[in-house]
């Protein structure tokens, strides 16, 4: 690794810090500007004002805002997010250790599906430009981009689960298998493989199909469109014409030479889409009762659980920041012309 490249990576990582800081700061203050508080949101009028005040005092909500802010920042730095303010006041770190693996297990296959199928479809459409396959793929990309995720998920549930019985409807695993399952990492797929629990693994994979395909399809449209446009341009480049003149097969020209040169914008899109993927996970997790960060975030926003919301947003911000850095680093490997 060259010194300039190392400097670039270090600078890029350091720049992520203010980005995360700005985001969590905004969330911290916006949550408090919003009307309502966690005590009344959860308990309604059933506790007296004196009781509510006692609970606020116990939770530290009566402290000056700046004290709460710096306390939160310090907790974030130490990765101890403190306790949730509602629903049992569990340590947020414990909750995230259960929820984050579930969200990662959902988003990874979704992102893979999106990128692989999206890019290959786009490349194929470019190769078959202005032919029926091209038109069909373009229409498909617009349709999947336009469909709301909850609607698509619901349709999948009714068709593939309720009517055809091909896949489980919701959740991460069959109830009886989950009863006897003892996860260690909370990455259930990894745990099932490590434990050699094949029935559990089969159930996990079957439960993953519909939510990950739903999420993957929603994000696929932009990949298809972007790949197609860049591929059309690449396929008209001189080096492709030269390759064609030398008798290289069309498939090799398309998927080996032209496609490699379209990877820079695609990588950029992967970085950008990752944030959308997390947003999509919020709705997908609700539709499929998937016990991940998205579903948790929605509920905690409703309850005005400041600590929980801030912590989830911080984790999301860190994830998006990390992916951005990785994408930047990958540029150098994908395109040797890129120098840092």
């Amino acid at each position: 690794m060259s010194a300039s490249f190392r400097n670039f990576v270090v600078a890029r990582v350091l720049l992520t810090v203010p980005m995360v800081l700005i985001l969590v700061t905004m969330v911290f203050f916006v949550m408090r500007v919003l009307p309502g508080d966690p005590i009344r949101s959860q308990l309604g009028p059933k506790v007296s004002e004196a009781q509510a005040e006692a609970i606020r005092e116990r939770l530290g909500l009566n402290r000056p805002l700046t004290v709460q802010y710096f306390d939160f920042l310090w907790r974030m730095v130490t990765l101890d997010f403190g306790n949730a303010l509602t629903q049992g006041e569990r340590p947020i770190r414990d909750e995230l250790s259960e929820l984050l693996p579930a969200t990662i297990e959902l988003t990874l296959p979704a992102m893979t599906l999106t990128a692989v199928v999206g890019v290959l479809s786009g490349a194929y459409a470019a190769q078959r430009r202005k032919r029926p396959a091209d038109y069909a793929i373009r229409v498909f990309s617009i349709v999947v981009y336009a469909i709301p995720v909850f609607f698509l998920g619901l349709m999948f549930q009714i068709i593939f689960s309720v009517r055809l019985g091909l896949f489980p409807l919701a959740g991460r695993m069959d109830a009886l298998l989950l009863r006897d399952f003892r996860p260690v990492t909370n990455f259930y797929v990894v745990d099932a493989i490590v434990q050699g629990n094949w029935p559990a693994l089969k159930s996990l994979l079957l439960h993953l199909v519909m939510p990950s395909v739903t999420l993957g399809l929603i994000l696929m449209g932009p990949f298809i469109r972007l790949t197609r446009v860049n591929m059309i341009e690449a396929l008209q480049a001189d080096y492709i014409t030269a390759g064609r003149a030398r008798g290289l097969p069309e498939r090799r020209l398309t998927y080996r030479h032209a496609l490699r040169n379209t990877f820079i914008p695609i990588l950029t899109l992967i970085g950008l889409q990752f944030a959308l993927l997390l947003a999509g996970a919020v709705l997908t997790e609700t539709t499929f009762s998937w016990p991940g960060m998205g579903r948790y975030l929605v509920k905690r926003i409703e309850l005005r659980d400041y600590n929980a919301v801030q912590s989830v947003i911080a984790v999301f911000a860190l994830a998006v920041g990390a992916i951005s850095v990785m994408v930047d680093v990958l540029y150098a490997f994908v395109d040797p012309r890129v120098r840092y």
């Binding site: 720049l15 203010p18 800081l21 700005i22 700061t25 905004m26 203050f29 916006v30 408090r32 500007v33 919003l34 009307p35 309502g36 508080d37 009344r40 949101s41 308990l43 009028p45 059933k46 506790v47 007296s48 004002e49 009781q51 509510a52 006692a54 609970i55 116990r58 805002l65 700046t66 509602t86 629903q87 049992g88 006041e89 569990r90 909750e95 259960e98 619901l154 549930q157 689960s161 309720v162 019985g165 489980p168 409807l169 919701a170 959740g171 991460r172 109830a175 009886l176 989950l178 009863r179 609700t286 539709t287 499929f288 009762s289 998937w290 016990p291 579903r295 509920k299 409703e302 005005r304």
Partner: protein, 548 residues
């Protein structure tokens, strides 16, 4: 962007956000009071907006039957008193006084108050658009139309998200009239009346009503243990309530439970308790688990706390009542109090302030640890941890003592005739000393070795809870030894799950849309439960008009 610029931007954002947070203000600062009285009689001094006559005009003008038909297609039950039918001493005083609707009475009351078509009574009517379901806006629209049909009222509908809404009405002055819902704490009329019409408790619910006669009647009814006295007093309270109208009951919202063919024993009565131990699989059943020793129940509820001295949510109480035995309990499907952990009904002192219970001598926690009266004293001590439910018990109980291993004595702050009903609620479930320490709340225990028909074996957050039959249970053993509660994020997914056969029972909260759809699905049974879930209007007596 240079690093310096970035830091400047960050600093600016922090300052902006801090300024914004400082400008948040309290909810009432954002609400413009718009209720008006006739301009011709603007009083010199501020006075409460509401008079009994104005509230009576509301009561007379609103037709609950029409609301129920138009918005709920007849599914809901019109409420002619705060106390629902099925509860002890329930009457229908609003029906007796106003009929289903008396528009002429409403017009006369408003005319007498000085309002005319040219100078109508103008008021903001508030509601939370999402908290009580998407039908709330339709309900409010019908109410507005009915009130304005008098020709002497102009109603401005206003909505606010729940978080701000609660803060605003608890603060006391923001909303002149607004909609709320209520779910009872225990099976007695007191829990439907005192929170809204007693001087001490009504401010907590935004009513701010205080009337000497009402307080006397409520205290008299609450203090007596004589059923005849209580019946007569609650009838009198009903009549007075319909005259004073501290709140205006609208309708009771039902719940729906859907279960697959072959599931038997689904019975939910007025106490709204779902007893898993009486469920069974009959002939022809095809359990979702594939085995008749396990039943899977779906819910969209979430676990908030499983500490008996903290939990205060419907689902949490349901779990606690299935894993714990209260001193007294209800026969499944009825409001009949029977013995639970107590060997006999309590002895009540002459002044009604002391309730003495004798415990069963065969009571054990699920791990075999004996239950003694000391556990009940410890329960009382645990309320000092300021759990969510502490206030419910501490308002009635002064102290608890255990003269011997099997005797528990509750010293009350006053005479409360309904205390036996209170002892049938989840806070009276004994907490295992190893799981629930005296000095702290444990909202999410790994297991619950309680005294009820089941013990909680595991809870996988957001996914499922596993219950297994308690081998030490002193009553009839559970018919189905294993219960799995599956947690769903939304009712549509849950309704699909029961249709597909992934769960045997779809319980709270299956909305009317899903319930109606499932009624036509072969192999499913949809039952409407008369839930004690009331929607009502609050007339805020702290809302002032006139003056400077």
């Amino acid at each position: 962007m240079s690093r310096k610029s970035l830091y400047s931007l960050f600093a600016a954002l922090v300052v902006l956000a801090m300024v914004l947070s400082g400008c948040g203000g309290t909810p009432e600062a954002t609400v413009a009071p718009t209720a008006e009285v006739p301009a011709v009689e603007e009083p010199a001094e501020a006075r409460p907006l509401w008079t009994p006559e104005l509230k009576q005009a509301f009561a007379a003008a609103i037709d609950r039957e029409v609301i129920v038909d138009r918005v709920f297609e007849g599914r809901n039950t019109p409420a002619y008193h705060m106390v629902p039918a099925g509860y002890p001493y329930a009457t229908e005083p609003f029906l007796d006084k106003y009929g289903t609707r008396d528009l002429e009475m409403a017009k006369a009351l408003l005319t007498d108050a000085g309002y005319t078509e040219a100078n109508p009574f103008v008021v903001d009517l508030w509601y939370p658009p999402e908290h009580y379901g998407t039908t709330t806006a339709d309900v409010m629209q019908v109410i507005k139309e009915q009130l304005e049909e008098t020709g002497l009222m102009q109603v401005n509908l206003q909505s606010q998200n729940w978080a701000e809404y609660v803060n605003a009405f608890v603060e006391g002055e923001a909303y002149p009239v607004f909609m709320l819902g209520w779910f009872p704490d225990f099976v007695d009329p007191d829990t439907w009346l005192t929170p809204f019409s007693s001087c001490i408790q009504s401010p907590d619910n935004g009513v701010n009503y205080c009337d000497e006669k009402m307080d006397e009647l409520l205290l008299k009814a609450a203090a007596s243990s004589d059923p005849a006295v209580r019946e007569a007093t609650y009838a009198e309270i009903g009549v007075y309530y319909a005259e004073q109208v501290p709140t205006l009951p609208l309708f009771f919202e039902p719940e729906f439970i859907t279960y697959r063919d072959g599931v038997e024993g689904v019975t939910i009565g007025a106490p709204f308790e779902f007893n898993y131990n009486v469920l069974s699989f009959g002939a022809g059943a095809s359990p979702a688990s594939g085995n008749t020793d396990t039943i899977i129940i779906g819910t969209t509820d979430e676990v908030n706390s499983l500490d008996p001295q903290d939990a205060y949510a419907t689902h949490d109480w349901e779990i606690l009542k299935n894993t714990g035995l209260t001193l007294l309990q209800y026969t499944p499907g009825t409001a009949d109090l029977v013995l639970g952990a107590a060997a006999a009904f309590p002895e009540v002192s002459d002044d009604g302030k002391t309730f003495t219970f004798t415990l069963r001598d065969d009571l054990r926690f699920a791990d075999g640890t004996p239950v003694t009266s000391a556990d009940y004293v410890r329960m009382w001590d645990r309320f000092a941890n300021e759990g969510q439910v502490s206030g419910l018990i501490q308002i009635y109980v002064e102290s608890v003592e255990a003269p011997d291993d099997l005797t528990v004595v509750y010293h009350l702050k006053d005479s409360f005739g309904f205390f036996d009903a209170l002892t049938a609620t989840a806070p009276f479930v004994p907490a295992h000393p190893d799981t629930f320490p005296t000095d702290s709340i444990v909202a999410f225990p790994d297991k619950i070795d309680g005294t009820g028909p089941y013990r909680m074996v595991s809870l996988t957050s957001g996914q499922q809870m596993v219950l297994a039959a308690n081998p030490e249970y002193s009553g009839e053993p559970a018919i189905i030894p294993n219960v799995i509660i599956r947690y769903f994020a939304d009712p549509t997914t849950m309704s699909n799950a029961v249709e597909k056969g992934e769960i045997d029972v779809a319980w709270r909260t299956l909305g009317p849309v899903e319930a109606t759809r499932l009624q036509d699905v072969a192999g499913l049974n949809v039952v409407k439960i008369d839930a004690p879930t009331l929607r009502y209007l609050v007339f805020n007596m702290n809302y002032m008009v006139g003056g400077e």
